[in-house]
């Protein structure tokens, strides 16, 4: 993994390598170097399999870090190595270059990201069609500031009689009754 990192580091301004397992590592990359890095990995290093493309919302991380993280996870099957390239994007008005010409299947992921996170991929085919939701009228639901419970309570009629207990107090009452 380190050998690959050193080779990549010579070409691209890669951030620090997070080694999760012997065969899985993550590294952050500036947005403009993503496409050449993916191409390099795919064509030169044998990382031909796009495992997944997804986003993480770091809303609570303070003002300067409040951004989206896009993860492009690539797999080299012959050597059993995975590398995840992370790209940080601002949360508002985000657009991102599409990679559907490298992996056609990425178009599906990008459709989902646009719908669920509001990250726009302007060149991706069919990206503006509704994918999973239909007639959605709120902020994209996978964003951290979307409150699903509040939305559910506002939109749907709940049947009376459902109780929600806090696990901790409930366990305390069950195990040590009488002691608060």
């Amino acid at each position: 993994m380190h050998a690959l990192y050193d080779r990549l580091k010579a070409l691209f301004p890669l951030g620090e390598l997070t080694e999760q397992r012997a065969n899985l590592a993550f590294a952050t990359l500036p947005v403009e170097y993503l496409r050449p890095a993916l191409l390099h990995l795919r064509d030169q290093e044998g990382y031909t399999h796009l495992v997944l493309l997804t986003a993480v919302d770091w809303l609570e991380d303070g003002q300067e870090n409040c951004q989206f993280q896009l993860t492009y996870l690539l797999n080299n099957r012959a050597e059993n190595l995975d590398i995840g390239l992370r790209v940080m994007l601002p949360r508002e008005g985000t657009t991102m270059a599409s990679i559907h010409d490298l992996w056609p299947t990425a178009a599906t992921y990008q459709r989902e990201l646009r719908e669920m996170f509001g990250i726009d991929f302007p060149d991706s085919p069919g990206v503006y069609e509704e994918f999973i939701l239909e007639g959605w009228n709120d902020i994209p639901p996978y964003r951290r500031d979307f409150d699903t419970l509040k939305y559910a309570n506002d939109s749907y009629a709940q049947r009376a009689g459902r109780e929600t207990r806090d696990p901790e107090t409930h366990m305390k009452e069950q195990l040590y009754p009488g002691k608060s």
Partner: protein, 213 residues
């Protein structure tokens, strides 16, 4: 609105120009009406017996409960013995089994399928997620109470209900039908405005694709 949904003039293959208005639902202008049974009680009882003995389920697996429908129709449980059969089109089916949670997208199709079925028709809700949301009580995309949107004759609890529970549930439904108590279609017609208001509150996009049925 998508351009193909706007009202416009089109030229047919035979050269005749005509106006189409896709957002208007051509087959659903009239609300359902209350349908009375036969005047003679014994005839109605006889029909009810036949209805109970011949439950045609619409083959619409709306949720995870659909996976237990297959064992239900195969050697171990063999629901055919009780006159329960699949029907692939809503026109011929008279029992809609809502097999689990309904996302709003599916709810729209399920309502359409329900309205296409012929009266008398029955609805069975499978699983706790149709009753009160079950596991998905805080989900933003599934409805919590099925009976707000269509008249439910019977709920079968469980997550997911076992085939034995389904068989028992269908037997109970048969009893209801034989007693003449399963009048969901009439209930739907009587409270049509209430049901429609509930549905409209949940489904924001009523643009239905040009469905085959």
């Amino acid at each position: 609105m998508k351009p193909e949904l706007l009202k416009r003039m089109v030229k047919g293959p035979d050269g005749v120009e005509f106006e189409v208005e896709p957002m208007r639902d051509y087959y659903c202008d009239a609300p359902p009406t209350v349908q009375h049974g036969a005047y003679i009680k014994i005839v109605e009882d006889f029909f009810n017996w036949a209805r109970a003995e011949s439950l045609w389920i619409l083959g619409f697996g709306t949720g995870c409960g659909a996976i237990e429908m297959r064992p239900l129709m195969t050697p171990r449980f063999d629901a055919y013995r009780y006159g329960i059969q699949w029907r692939p089109t809503p026109r011929q089916a008279n029992l809609l089994v809502i097999s689990g949670y309904l996302s709003t997208k599916t709810l729209k199709r399920a309502i359409r399928a329900y309205e296409q079925m012929q009266s008398p028709k029955y609805v069975v809700g499978l699983g706790s997620c149709t009753i009160n949301g079950g596991m998905y009580w805080d989900s933003y995309n599934t409805i919590k109470c099925l009976d707000q949107y269509m008249p439910v004759d019977l709920y079968i609890t469980g997550c997911m209900p076992r085939p034995e529970a389904l068989l028992a549930g269908f037997e109970d439904l048969k009893k209801l039908i034989r007693a003449g108590k399963a009048e969901g279609a009439n209930q739907y017609a009587e409270r049509f405005d209430w049901y429609k208001a509930n549905q409209k509150q949940v489904i924001h996009d009523w643009d239905m694709p040009d469905y085959n049925w």
